[in-house]
Amino acid sequence: MHSHPTAPEPVVSPPAGPVNTETATLDIEGMTCASCSNFVERALSRTPGVQRAVVNLATEKATIDFLPTQIDRAGLKAAVEQAGYGVAETAANATTAPASPLATDDELEARKAAAYAKLRRRFGVAVALAVVVMALSMVMFWPALMARINTPLLNYVQLALTLPVIFYCGREFYVSAWNGLQHRTASMDTLIAVGTGAAFLFSLVATLLPGWLTNQGIMPHVYYDTTATIIALILLGKVLEARAKQRTSAAIKALLGLQARTARVVRDGKEVAVPIEQVQFGEVVVVRPGEKVATDGVITEGQSAVDEAMLTGESLPVSKKAGDAVFGATINKTGSFRFRVTKVGADTMLAQIVKLVSEAQGSRAPIQRLADKVSAVFVPTVVLIALATFVLWFDFAPEATRLPLALVNFVAVLIIACPCALGLATPTAIMVGTGKGAEYGVLIRNAEALEKAYQVDTVLLDKTGTITKGEPAVTDVITVPGYQAGELLPLVAAVERQSEHPLAAAVVRYADAPENRSGNSTVAPLATADFRAIEGQGAAATVDGRAVLIGNQRLLREAGVTLTPVLEQAAAGLLAQAKTVLYVAMDGQPTAVLGVADTLRETSVSAIKELQRQGLEVVMMTGDNPQTAAEVAHQVGITRFFAEVLPADKAGKVQELQAEGRTVAMVGDGINDAPALARADVGLAMATGTDVAMEAAPITLMRADLNGVVTAISLSRQTMRTIKQNLFFAFIYNTLGIPIAAGLLYPFTGWTLSPMIAAGAMALSSVSVLTNSLRLRGFTPNS
């Protein structure tokens, strides 16, 4: 035994110890078959310096381990070219970057369009010929005409017209059925091929050898009209199906279409328009009014209002200023700004949404399991039923008509059976449903989540950050007589502007709000002096010549300020509402108390009401004390709540509700509530701020708004309703259609089903299922 001359062992074995090999990947051009790739592989392996080469025909890539001391990339390229193949030059960074889901495949699109055009052409030819064949076959209903026509000639003309229908229009069915048989699989094509094949072959015998059939006591009847019409109708079904299918996946295409093509990048102090693929991390991008934001980043200067509807479903533009995050594909409305790029390509929000939606569309819903099991045995079973139909008709029908009846019913059974309707029932609805969700800022991770959300009867809401905004805000300002809130607030805000306390920020926000500026909106911040932050108490400063104190009661007490009875009472009232109270003193005199609380999101009350209207029990959970919890629950109309729940116990509360036999949807922020979200039957993570933890829960709400919960649940209900309708229709259609086609009604009513009507029903059944799924496109959250 000796080694093959074309694959020699390396003459010099690599030295022991670490060898500095490098790995390169080359895109090989011109390979068409497995022997080509073997050839390239051998050529590379033989090249000195190459330790190992693997060529993959499918990806057209060569992966080569080589010694950089002996050969370089150019040398490898030369070796491939010497072997007669090409190496595609790719940008250096393109080979290392992970494939972005945003890369649109124009070639795939073009191929699909070409396939569709071809299908339509085949359908057109089939219809034209079928109409003529049908007209010719009608002649026999006209005895006067029939007598003058040469029947064998008529049959030959019909045969000539049917041949192109079989071999051009319907070729795919026969080829596909044959391929399937080699794998012992049977599909819809098998049914069509056997059905039309049987009708055609019988007709062929009747045309070529009519005398022989007559001698056997069989009428030499032809079924060319049946054959041609079935193929035309099934192609019609395929054309409609192809059109409808394209629309089920429109959501992804729409998302992909959102991305910007170019970006105005600042390079060397100049603004240059570059293709979006060339924008690099850390660069500064300029966005003018009306332009699309190119990619994700953080605003460095300027401010504007940005329309983020395409990502979050929020219809109102969101105002943005320096330090705020902006996202690619959103549209800048009013101002100009510059932002620093923080994410490009596959890392952007848009790319993540696309990835999530396309994964959801590939997932399987548990409800589909039965349909899947049925489809797996469907076609062979139908073939068995068809054979039994043939035998029974042949054995029991009157002798004169037994063969035509057996044949016609055999064909009808094969043609009416529609496994496609079963196969399309669930996935098409899931595709439209998840796409629709994305449009409203509800990202559904998989079909199972969509199915679970429909069974939910209890919604558990985390309070802070979910029902409420999760940040304190001034809710009450109560002053002593002689002071107006309008004159007081600027002074207090001037002190608090210096402080870093979250409550101070709430006071500043409140004072700066346009409605609290008492008319003079252009007042410059007042000058402050002697600012002091007093740990655990508050702050003090001199503003406009007046000594201002703001903080808790202890601050005032230690400064020797005593509250007036009016303020005392006001403070007690605020405390009773579970609010935090800030006390204000001016020049040693008590002047005001401010109530601060975490405020409700504007939409919380109406969203909770809507959930309750839909028959869901809404339960709240919070770490706050029972008084605060009760107060918030009362405000939003929730009767059941859990207070003083430690973060670690949140999952336990979900379990507690589940133990009551409830199916629980948990709504939280995705970061602190992760265990509870995981524990719940359906977890809904609400995006807060800039970070969207899309992995945290099966459903992500892109907008911090409880209306998203309403949308998710009603979308789930409508999708599941559609799926159930589809499955019901598909099962009923087949379980009724097949026996009728087999002639079950004949003994009672004398009905049999023409195979042509069977073909029409079959073509329409899968289209009906698709159309029903597409109705989901009309979903609006408020319906």
């Binding site: 499918a58 070639e107 044959w178 794998h183 699989t185 819809m188 569309q361 076609v379 039994a388």
Partner: protein, 125 residues
């Protein structure tokens, strides 16, 4: 019952027996050869009325790349589903579509066409 009826009945029953055996009983699985390139387990699969090979054995925890070459235009095979890995992919005719994923758990996972007619299984060990 005349002769032709007896004949048709016998042939019919025979065919039914054959169809049942052909699709349901006969063993018809083809195993796959996996090549490993740079730590990626690769399998080339031809799609033509079915998947050949239709049983693919891969190792857990190592990325897998399945190269589906769709060698037909029949619309039955135009979509590929691997639901356990949330994959739904269109396979253009006469082209290779590479599908990549990372199997984390051992088990038997199905891959099918869009209508669930053509099937294959992925065995992760």
């Amino acid at each position: 019952m005349d002769t032709s009826q007896v004949l048709v009945t016998l042939i019919g029953l025979g065919l039914m027996g054959f169809v049942g055996w052909f699709f349901f009983l006969a063993p018809h699985q083809v195993g796959a050869a996996t090549t490993t390139t740079a730590g990626v387990q690769q399998v080339d699969i031809r799609v033509k009325g079915g998947y050949s090979p239709d049983v693919i054995e891969v190792k857990r925890g190592q990325p897998v790349q399945l190269n589906f070459y769709r060698d037909e235009e029949s619309s039955c095979s135009e979509e590929l589903l691997i639901p356990d890995f949330s994959i739904r992919r269109e396979l253009p005719a006469f082209q290779t579509t590479a599908v990549e994923f990372l199997p984390q758990q051992a088990g038997r996972f199905e891959f099918t066409c869009g209508m669930h007619m053509l099937r294959g299984s992925l065995v992760v060990v």
